[in-house]
């Protein structure tokens, strides 16, 4: 039965041609877009943009903070009390007309052990945050909550193992986490970290979508009862040389030391970078939408042409079990589209990324696992969407109507949700409930709870994980197929 249906599919030249064209569009548009991308920064045309640092896990990261440090040879410990933690936020809503004292939720002040002063190097840190209590974070992506009321912090190193502690009274200490930093050299930097990420807000735009605003903030922490002596060195780590008016005229970032008390001011963040850092590997799959429509046409015709020509009677005469025939056809169109989509995506993603990089553009690195998920997931998305379109065709038995319904179900919600037409809450629901949820397979960067970002669909972040998105689409496809089978069994052919 499968063989018969496969023979049917491959012997109509237009269908095979349509499918090959669809896959060629994925490769072609991906490569074309890669050639078309030119980024330049600074005054001079063609000046390369500074790439974000890469963390130990291979991700693009942010590593910009006030770093007060001294050398640590071998094992050691640092304990301090945070006497004060304050900050300013420049011109926040509602009126945007004044500097407001206050800390953003993920402002950070604490103790850090870091593999040198190169941005992107390995570290572990125990810190007090603006409104998320004490945390132990390491290597940019990892985060663990500690007590909320503690002001005493301690960090220890023993070999590659870093432990973070917190206490509210300096006598009873709670260990937050013990982390391993593999390959940590004997000599590292130990000291203090103060960072304050931008104050980010998103509000609905006047023409739909949302307007994201980021404002400069600065945090100041006062550390006392410091148990290490020796000279402390201040460094504005990851500094790009730019200074805000606040830093120029009011209060610059830096270290102010009076005896054992250190007052440190700083901005920035130590965290994974988001999509703002550059293009992701998913940007190479821009041909998917056009390919989807071409695939829909073939998948729909695969069944509606049989009704139009009354060929369906011959089919059901040769294979009287109608449900099984419809399922076999679904399997054939799904498998063919999956295979073609897999080949197309497996060529496009590495090729286009290579072209973009050799053109001097920064592409945010993704792990192999993420790359495989984007490629295989995109093929699965194409295949399941093709089955959905085919099932709608089997249900409606009208070619044009079925293609229109498939586009309405899959392509339209995706476009509405990702192009800043709808408010992001509505966009989120479209990407949870409609078949377009499956585009979640193309999210190249994870979202992190410890980073305050809007994570909007228009930036390539989806509300569902990849597997759940595919499951939503699979649910739609199965439901449509079940309805089609029910109708086909009941009616005279």
């Amino acid at each position: 039965m499968i063989r018969a249906e496969w023979h049917k599919l491959r012997t109509v030249r237009g269908w095979l041609g349509g499918l090959i064209a669809a896959f060629a569009v994925i490769i072609g548009l991906g490569v074309l877009a890669a050639f078309g991308v030119h980024t330049s920064c600074g005054q001079q045309e063609g000046e390369a943009c500074p790439a974000p640092p890469i963390g130990p896990g291979g991700q693009a990261v942010q590593d910009r903070f006030a770093f007060v440090h001294q050398k640590l040879d071998g094992d050691g410990t640092l304990t301090a009390h945070i006497a004060d933690f304050t900050g300013i936020i420049t011109y926040p809503p509602p009126n945007h007309d004044e500097l407001v004292p206050g800390l953003v939720p993920w402002a950070k002040a604490g103790l850090i052990i870091k593999d040198g002063t190169k941005p992107g190097s390995a570290y572990a840190s125990v810190m007090l945050t603006g409104s998320h209590g004490v945390r132990m974070q390491h290597n940019y992506t990892e985060d663990k909550a500690g007590p909320t009321d503690a002001r005493w912090l301690r960090i220890t190193r023993s070999g590659n193992t870093i432990k973070g502690y917190a206490s509210s009274d300096a006598t009873r200490w709670a260990e937050i986490r013990s982390v391993d930093l593999p390959g940590l050299p004997r000599t590292v930097q130990i000291g203090f970290l103060v960072a304050s990420p931008a104050n980010v807000t998103a509000k609905p735009g006047p023409h739909g979508g949302s307007i994201v605003q980021a404002r400069f903030t600065q945090a100041t922490a006062v550390f006392d009862h410091v148990d290490r002596t020796g000279t402390w060195t201040y460094e504005k780590l990851g500094d790009d040389g730019g200074m805000t008016d606040w830093e120029k005229f009011h209060h610059n970032a830096g270290l102010d030391q009076h005896g054992g008390t250190l007052t440190i001011s700083g901005s920035g963040d130590v965290a994974p970078a988001g999509n703002e850092a550059g293009a992701t590997i998913a940007h190479t799959l821009t041909g998917m939408i056009v390919a989807l429509i071409a695939v829909f046409v073939v998948a729909v015709l695969f069944i509606t042409a049989e009704y139009r020509r009354d060929l369906i009677r011959t089919t059901f005469t040769a294979m009287p079990h109608r449900g099984r025939v419809l399922a076999a056809k679904a399997a054939v169109i799904g498998a063919v589209v999956f295979t073609g989509g897999l080949i197309a995506a497996a060529i496009t993603v590495p090729l286009a990324v290579h072209l973009m990089r050799s053109g001097g553009n920064f592409v945010i690195p993704s792990s192999t696992a993420t790359g495989v998920r984007v490629v295989v997931g995109s093929a699965a998305l194409l295949a399941l969407a093709a089955v959905l379109a085919y099932a709608v065709g089997a249900l409606l038995r009208r070619g044009v109507a079925a293609v229109a319904v498939a586009v309405l179900l899959v392509v339209l919600p995706y476009i509405l949700a990702t192009t800043s037409i709808l408010p992001s809450a509505a966009a989120g629901w479209l990407l949870r409930l409609t078949p377009a949820a499956a585009f979640a397979v193309q999210q190249a960067l994870p979202s992190y709870p410890q980073v305050n970002m809007p994570y909007a669909p228009s930036d390539g972040y989806y509300p569902l994980p990849a597997w759940a998105g595919l499951l939503v689409l699979a649910g739609w496809a199965s439901a449509a197929l079940a309805l089609a089978v029910a109708r086909t069994r009941r009616a005279d052919a």
């Binding site: 063989r3 018969a4 012997t11 109509v12 049989e306 009677r313 011959t314 009287p320 005279d492």
Partner: protein
Amino acid sequence: MALDGMTFTAAPGVVTGFVGPNGAGKSTTMRVLLGLDAADRGTATVGGRRYRDLPNPLTHLGALIDANALHPARSGRNHLLWLAHSQGIDAKRVDEVLDMTGLRTVARRRAGGYSLGMRQRLGISAALLGDPPALMLDEPFNGLDPEGIVWMRDLLRTLAAEGRAVLVSSHLMSELQDIAGHVVFVGRGRAIKEAAKDELTIRYGSLEAAYLELTRGEGALK
């Protein structure tokens, strides 16, 4: 309701004519037998089994329902090949039936360019694909030129002589004049009369006369 009391026999080794005016229920009977249309009551079986319960049904009963049921972009040979795949029939058999029906030379051309006569031959090829003991052909003479009609008569005669049961529907008695050994007359969804050709010729003088006599006033059901 299109059919009511449609009971008759098509015996092996004989061409059974299935005649009646347009709309008498000939095509519907065939569709019900093939499981394409559902009957409200009663059973339609092939060799004692429901059609849908036959494994590889084309090897039990070959049928030609609508010669135009083709995808125009698919070649005649590929049309037969997918049918062969669906029945577990070897591709060699496809070329055999193409030779039997004289389509070999055009088999690799798009079926959309075939004349109605060529489509009828392709339909017959499909019916013969499974080498079935029983054949059921709905208006196979439609669209054939005089030469084609002669060819078709010879083929049907040969197929019956091989011991197959061959049921051929027609709304024109003349087409079956020389080949039908047994005739079933239908009207208004019923089998009015079935009898051997010899018996009918003796009683009515000719099959044509029997047809006119028996189907008078038996037009389509509304």
